[in-house]
């Protein structure tokens, strides 16, 4: 495989991982793991097939493995977190920082689909192939993810931080 071809995909892998994990170091670790696994399976890659899709599906599978044996999620609970969310008065300004926070409140499988569509501009079929799920599943995750994000951004859906164990 052309190493320059892999090199060319790294920025996109990093962007996606950053958006998925919301943390720079964790994201780069995931990219590193992805590249290492890719090398161990390099014989499975068919020359001429879509390298990007292949790398993204490796990353997806790694992430699934990691979730399966994920550490206990600990978080400090502030009493403020129990406050009832109020609807913001400004409805048109989309604060980017809020978007980043809201994004992390989406279930993993919805965030994945949303990001592959929005950032990678993959077609629904490509997303389905990358994640190994039917297109119908992609569509329902996209629909639920977008709507949830919209409601969160509108302040209509509580984003309670009380997620102690998942």
């Amino acid at each position: 495989m052309e190493s320059s071809a892999i090199l060319a995909e790294i920025p996109r892998l990093r962007r996606y991982a950053r958006a998925m994990l919301g943390d720079r170091a964790a994201a780069d670790d995931l990219v590193q793991d992805t590249l290492e696994r890719a090398w161990t399976r390099i014989s499975q890659w068919q020359v001429g097939s879509d390298l990007r899709a292949w790398l993204f599906s490796i990353m997806h599978n790694l992430r699934v493995d990691q979730m399966r044996r994920s550490a206990i999620y600990t978080q400090t609970i502030d009493e403020d977190d129990f406050e009832v969310p109020t609807r913001p008065t400004q409805t048109d300004t989309l604060e980017l920082k809020d978007l980043e926070t809201a994004l992390q409140h989406l279930p993993d499988e919805q965030r994945e689909v949303l990001l592959l569509v929005a950032l990678e501009e993959m077609s629904y079929t490509e997303v389905a192939a990358t994640l190994g799920v039917p297109v119908g599943t992609v569509m329902s995750r996209l629909s639920r993810g977008r709507e949830r994000l919209r409601l969160v951004m509108d302040g209509r859906l509580s984003t309670t931080k009380l997620r102690v164990v998942r």
Partner: protein, 268 residues
């Protein structure tokens, strides 16, 4: 004009400009006539754009060297990995002697009973720190309702938990080490109730002692150490009791407290 409502899938495909010309025209007309659909389409388009604005800068960041290297060649064995934390989650605390004692007593129990109870208890043993850490993670961050029965009703707490566990249990006194009892609660274990006592120090740092009476093999083990995320756990089995002490504090400090707990239980 009466239009067929467009499907949810069509609406998203419209947002992503993935519709064929003829469908797009139809979708456009529908959306124009339905403010609620228009509002959603607009919101989704803004979302999509905002996600790009938010994360596209990552594309222009210089690549970390370890990733650049990995693009051109398979990883050299272990190289580049050394800086990452070790994957080993388990480490025995009190030197090899402790391990030998545990193994010998385990084997003795197995030979003595002619059953494979120790195998079962080993399985439970590995569950113990995990369960304790989960219980710690769930209850210790709670500012207002960390316990069911508070320390000011310690007599009631002891009577209640002893009754429910079917054997006397009492929270050790850790004030000398700077930890005051907050109270305790009853939790479900594998087959019945277990108890959790919670303490804190003056800084608010919390510590929980998880007490299970579900160990059937009646063995003893040395202290063992486990790390579950940010929570450090020392645990050991003493007869039918399994104890696990959890806190997000350093291993050394936790070991000191675990020793104190162990001593008090021994000298009861």
């Amino acid at each position: 004009m009466n239009r067929r409502p467009i499907s949810e899938d069509t609406l998203h495909a419209y947002v992503d400009a993935a519709l064929p010309e003829v469908d797009r025209t139809e979708a456009e007309a529908y959306i124009a006539a339905h403010p609620e659909a228009a509002e959603r389409v607009r919101a989704y388009q803004v979302q999509k754009q905002a996600l790009s604005v938010l994360f596209n800068p990552v594309l222009d960041e210089p690549l970390p060297e370890n990733l650049r290297v990995l693009a051109s060649a398979p990883p050299q064995a272990e190289a580049g990995r050394s800086a990452r934390p070790s994957l080993s989650r388990w480490s025995l605390e009190r030197v090899a002697a402790g391990v030998v004692i545990a193994l010998v007593s385990g084997a003795a129990g197995w030979l003595g009973h002619g059953q494979y109870q120790p195998a079962e208890s080993v399985a439970r043993m590995t569950l113990l720190p995990r369960q304790a850490a989960v219980a710690h993670a769930v209850f210790s961050p709670d500012v207002r309702r960390p316990v069911e029965v508070k320390a000011e009703n310690e007599d009631q707490l002891v009577a209640w938990l002893s009754k429910r566990l079917g054997t006397p249990v009492r929270p050790p006194k850790l004030a000398a080490l700077g930890y005051e009892l907050i109270g305790g609660r009853l939790l479900p274990g594998n087959v019945g109730p277990v108890a959790q006592f919670m303490y804190n120090d003056v800084t608010g740092q919390r510590l929980t002692l998880y007490v299970s009476t579900e160990n059937t093999s009646n063995q003893e083990t040395a202290f063992r150490f486990a790390q579950e995320g940010q929570i450090n756990v020392f645990y050991w089995i003493d007869g039918t009791f399994g104890y696990a002490l959890s806190a997000s504090i350093g291993k050394d400090e936790l070991a000191r407290i675990a020793n104190a707990v162990y001593d008090q239980i021994e000298h009861k």
